[in-house]
Symmetry: C2
Subunit: 331 residues, 2 copies
């Protein structure tokens, strides 16, 4: 029998997850039934949204149950198939979870097209974070040429793509990131027009310097004080896309944006988005973004760590600012 | 020379305005020049928005200046005219301010159509509060038949009209108001389907009881804890119309909605509105609402107090819950 290293949710965390939130175990891989596939997972996607899936409260998808394999997007290779839609050797993206092998009826799995694009990109820029960026800034942010766009977590998997797409569409783009290294990366490598370093300057002063005429769209990945600062600079009719709130995910009680009445004064809107709502249009986005990646217009960066045993240590990097681009665990 | 009793802004308040925020004085009425009109003000509109106009900070209209006549909507009669558009005896609505007589070039003044509708209604349901309600719930709230609509300050000048319009459009409508008397009024006289009494029950429990399947639209006049409670019950795609925040206007530092991430989970939006943006469509709204008033579909309530000397005492009723419907000062 084949052995399967698995990371399971052991208990629900209060605040920041501890090592005991999950447990590592070794299962045996059972035989697959009719219509099933056995997938060997190659890459596991690590996303801030994972923190939300640990809570028992109502959310946009059910929480991960205690004892269940930790939910995660994956890229894997079919090594056995009794499903006519998939063949051995196919490379699939799907929800394989944090484990070496997954058995599935194939639902939610998609073949990765054979291209010159590296596999990890399919759970980054061409996966959930990239889809979030694409539909968030285009459909929810409704950017148009000449808009000033502010993006938090600008060096991250979502923010870095949001800003680059906004540049492609002719916007002025300013990022917010932590530390000189990340800010340099955002401006020099990703081509943003400016960056506010929230670790080394007042965010309000930084936005004022970079966006003296205010902002038309704020793409929010972080919430907290940075959202409050952005609210101060809204222009008439501005749109805030609420994509996430990294600063709040591990707090016992979330803190709302005290400056929200800026929405009233500026006839502005704040709207939440969940990428799954756009699932039927993923192929369009994948096609357009693949082209941008291939012609060098869109830069995709993955931060890859190895070993399923290191899941917890790598998970922590989602929140401690120790990564650039998309965080991935290679199995 | 005619004498004019005038209420002027004397100093900017911190927190709740004191009596010393304004001063009463007696001016002389000068002769009018070419193209000017002299209007004797009959009714002065008192609105929570007045509190915002006292602050020096950036807002949707300039603050009232120190020494200036306190800004207010008015209904008045033209008693002298050198303006070809207005005749002596015309009844006008406009921005006459808190004073007995106003001189103006007529800009922003509109003739009140002669109908069976009482004059004070033209600064209430057919004035700024009514226009706010009409465009707020229809254009911003985008209500459709069968929606569940929650309205705060439901016995107030705006909320009472919002709820009645939503009922006309086939929605289920639940109000939030303070005290049994107001709640009875909202349900029995205005025809709301239910009411949460925030003074005598937990708002969260009250909303849960009245809206067990959640809410599609929340029309927010108050902010604070009630906004936070409403956020808990948003349905997918819900809309929050941010019209005002009575609970926050007199606070030194505003408090944001801690549950705002409900916007994300529910793909919901929170959008600010300022009624002036709809000015060019006021005539349409006035026509439709006049008809509703005349045929008894829409109930308009005014709470009228007398005497310009009592401005401050009456102003306080905007915030202490001591009024139903539209607050008006009769001169």
């Amino acid at each position: 029998m084949m052995k399967n290293k698995v990371v399971r949710l052991t208990k629900r965390p209060n605040g920041f997850p501890s090592k005991e939130t999950w447990s590592n175990s070794i299962d045996e891989v059972r035989e697959i039934d009719k219509d099933e596939i056995l997938v060997k997972n190659l890459y596991v996607s690590l996303d801030p949204a994972m923190r939300g899936w640990l809570n028992e409260t109502r959310s946009y998808i059910p929480p991960v149950k205690i004892g269940e394999v930790m939910r995660a997007g994956t890229i894997g290779e079919v090594i056995k198939s009794k499903n006519s839609k998939f063949n051995e050797g196919d490379i699939l993206s799907g929800w394989g979870g944090v484990q070496q092998y997954s058995i599935s009826n194939g639902e939610g799995y998609f073949k990765v097209p054979t291209t010159q694009i590296p596999l990890p990109t399919y759970i980054g820029t061409l996966g959930m974070p990239g889809m979030t960026a694409y539909f968030g800034i285009l459909e929810e942010g409704k950017i148009k040429e000449g808009d000033t766009v502010l993006v938090s977590a600008a060096a991250g998997a979502v923010g870095s793509i949001v800003g680059q797409i906004a540049k492609i569409k002719g916007c002025k783009v300013v990022g917010i990131a932590g530390g000189k290294d990340k800010c340099d990366y955002v401006v020099n490598e990703l081509g943003f027009d400016g960056c506010v370093d929230y670790k080394n300057e007042s965010v309000v002063r930084g936005i004022k310097r970079e966006c003296p005429d205010g902002i038309d769209v704020y793409f929010d990945n972080v919430g907290g004080e940075i959202l409050d600062a952005a609210l101060v600079f809204l222009r008439i009719g501005a749109r805030i896309v609420v994509c996430g709130a990294i600063s709040q995910y591990n707090e016992m009680s979330a803190k709302g944006p005290n400056n929200y009445l800026s929405l009233l004064v500026n006839r502005a809107s704040m709207k939440g988005m969940v990428v799954f709502d756009y699932a039927k249009n993923y192929p369009t986005a994948t096609k357009e973004m693949s082209q941008w990646i291939l012609d060098g217009t869109l830069k995709s960066k993955e931060d890859i760590y190895e070993g399923i045993e290191n899941f917890y240590e790598v998970f922590k990097k989602l929140f401690n600012g120790e990564k650039k681009g998309k965080l991935i665990l290679k199995l």
